[in-house]
């Protein structure tokens, strides 16, 4: 066997050994992000606070105006979703070469279109097509 072939074989052996190591070192080469005890505890503390505030606002009826309360609890919910994404799901621009973030952004856009689009269209459908609408009210006297 020539010197070149031996080098190549040695490379394969080393590469194989490296892959074996990576498996035992829990595949950090995969780019899959991990948390530490500290980040998990920070995320947990934040989510406890962000859960307690909306429940307290509604159960203790802190604010008399329901619209203000609705906006506050929605803000808490969105903040907590972000906390979970960052501290528990380990979202960042680096994991999996940025593809998880791309997929998440795409999903958020489609989710917003589905939610906001449905609510907007159906709201207008309700207000414009329901019986008792002003157009129909002016029409009724003409119909015997």
């Amino acid at each position: 066997m020539s010197a070149n072939a031996q080098t190549a074989n040695a490379q394969i052996a080393r590469g194989g050994h490296h892959a074996h190591d990576a498996d035992h070192g829990h595949g950090h080469d995969s780019g899959h992000a991990h948390g530490t005890r500290k980040t998990y505890l920070i995320g947990f503390a934040l989510s406890v606070v962000l859960t307690a505030i909306p429940f307290w606002l509604v159960m203790a009826e802190v604010i008399s105006n329901p619209v203000t309360t609705t906006f506050l609890i929605m803000a808490c919910g969105l903040a907590q979703i972000l906390v979970h994404m960052i501290y528990f799901l380990h979202m960042n621009a680096k994991s999996e070469g940025g593809w998880t973030l791309m997929a998440a952004i795409f999903t958020i856009i489609v989710t917003l279109i589905a939610l906001v689009g449905s609510l907007w269209v159906m709201y207008h459908l309700n207000t414009n097509m329901m019986p008792g609408h002003t157009m129909e009210a002016t029409d009724t006297p003409e119909v015997p």
């Binding site: 991990h34 859960t51 919910g77 999996e96 159906m122």
Partner: protein
Amino acid sequence: MSTNVTTASGADAPSFYDLEPHEHAAHGSTHLGFWLYLMSDCLIFASLFAIYGVVGGNYAAGPGPQDLFDLRLVAVSTAALLLSSITYGFAVLDMNEGNQRGTLLWLSLTGLLGAAFMGLTLYEFYHLIHESAVPQRSAFLSAFFVLVGTHALHVFFGIVWLVVLLVQISQRGLVPANRIRVDCLSMFWHFLDVIWIGVFTVVYLMGMLR
């Protein structure tokens, strides 16, 4: 033979096969693929939330959220699910340190908290059906049962997966395949917690404000 190897590894010659093994292929694609599955699952929940948002106010002269929901119960089940998130986090940390006993312990605790959440949801459903607040009663109740039921079904399958994983880890140990499974279930479990934030905010808390 010598020339073959030289041309294959040479920079200017076309290379038809790779001598370097790709150690990231199996791990990376599994995690990314599972993440893409979760994102598609997210779209299912988005459409269910949209349905609830559109017809959630149509009670058909039946009971509304204020007649039916018990926020103390929801607060307890939310606490169970939130605690199960941190216990799962500790299971993953113990797994990364190679501590099999700790992993099994934290995973079991996560499963118990998930089971407590499931029990509370089933109790609520039983209570609602007992008060004849069934899905057929109104569009609001149909949308409620489908949205909360789909989430509960996800938690149920998460618990089944977790029990299977407990058996697999106790039989085979923390082998690479089991580590990938624990990582994927971790994503699934935290994802369910994210969906639950939307459920308790939109369905329960905003329902009580109507």
